[in-house]
Symmetry: none
Subunit: 242 residues, 2 copies
């Protein structure tokens, strides 16, 4: 009954490191929150909540994978159901000083729900055909593209530009890069599944077992990396204000 990870199982390896990294990142964000100016405290708290929520789900996913060797799809989407909307909240918090309305946040959250519900149907209810995988992947991508557009050219980008506030612009630019590069990791993992374009029935580049490996890498980058970027901006703005 002791934790036993096979030496040649990178998926199990990343589930375990992912769990600990998320846990440690939460402690980091919660403590460092004391050091930043008041207006940044809520952002750092939300960063810490995202990694804290992920730590708990990684704990369960790690065990599920160790016991069954299967993708913990349901747990994965339970995690995203909470953490992706919280990333939309981070957008909103950064842009509130620039005059963002709550409706801006709800539009992003709505797009993220479309993205996740379609992705869930695509993965959890797959019949193994490429038709199913592609259909739901495309619908999911519509939600993704909305967020991407908002960050680079739409409402978020315009609010940041109009604000004339350098810290806000840096923050939104960073988030936009995360959405473009970091979030794009997930559809690659998705395409590893049976029926996926990059999997065995498609180009044959990825094994189904790569799916979780890719998602774990994506989560580390997006959840911890993005929090660290916000933290960096918050710290330098705090020093400058002194």
């Amino acid at each position: 009954d002791v934790m036993d990870i096979k030496a040649d199982d990178p998926v199990a390896f990343t589930f375990f490191t992912g769990y600990m990294a998320m846990f440690a990142a939460s402690v980091f964000f919660f403590f460092e929150r004391q050091q930043v100016d008041g207006k940044w405290k809520t952002s750092l708290l939300v960063s810490g909540l995202i990694t804290m929520i992920a730590a708990v789900h990684y704990y369960y996913m790690r065990d599920y994978y160790a016991a069954t060797g299967m993708n913990p799809t349901v747990l994965r989407y339970i995690d995203w159901t909470l953490t992706v909307p919280l990333m939309c909240v981070e957008f909103y918090l950064l842009l509130r000083p620039a005059g963002a309305k709550q409706s801006f946040m709800w539009k992003l959250i709505f797009a993220s729900v479309v993205m996740l519900v379609a992705g869930y149907i695509g993965e959890a209810f797959t019949d193994g055909t490429m038709f199913h995988s592609v259909l739901w992947g495309v619908i999911s991508t519509v939600g993704y593209v909305y967020i991407l557009y908002s960050a680079w050219a739409g409402e978020a980008a315009q609010l940041a530009k109009a604000s004339g506030n350098e810290a806000v612009q840096k923050g939104i630019k960073a988030l936009a890069w995360f959405v473009l590069v970091g979030w794009a990791i997930y559809p690659i993992g998705y395409m590893a599944m049976p029926g996926g374009w990059l999997g065995q029935d498609g180009l044959g580049l990825l094994q189904p077992s790569s799916l979780d490996l890719i998602y774990n890498i994506g989560d580390a980058i997006n959840k911890i990396g993005f929090g660290l970027v916000v933290y960096g901006i918050a710290m330098s703005e705090t020093k400058r204000a002194k």
Copy 2:
């Protein structure tokens, strides 16, 4: 013995997301409490206690449901026995600056106890007949309507009006909307049970398994949503005072 959630089981999905959401909300309220003015700190603490209590009960309800597939009715009412009176305390805390007496709080708590005891008899001791379900549902609704009346036209509404304090009025108006719309979700769930008006023996609109789904949605809205509204008012009042 590993956490295994069926892909097509929304009840289990919401028990798990509910658990994590309550947990995260508590951490949020406890931390952000540092940022608000003294007079709001107790309200934020009580909001955090409500979600913290719920997180623990969701942890047990989730496991109970995963193991048995049945409604965790007793655990549910154990949760409400603590959290609903605490929501009455929130009413009182908001109205104390407007001169609310402790007797005001005890009247609300008494009404909530009537509501919950009758609801418990209705659910836990059901013989499956509509007579039982409707009888205890109606008695429970008497307690509910008292709280609703107090919030919209009775003591709570009058105290808020007389206070001339905008923040208090906004807070009570928000609570009144939660009691009218958010709390009304619960009787809908109740009517899904055997013998209920909306269930198989009535209009046939809801399955017995919908009961917990509906209660979980109601809890997320009322416990977290209401806490966030109080938090929003507290933050804007704190900023205004500076």
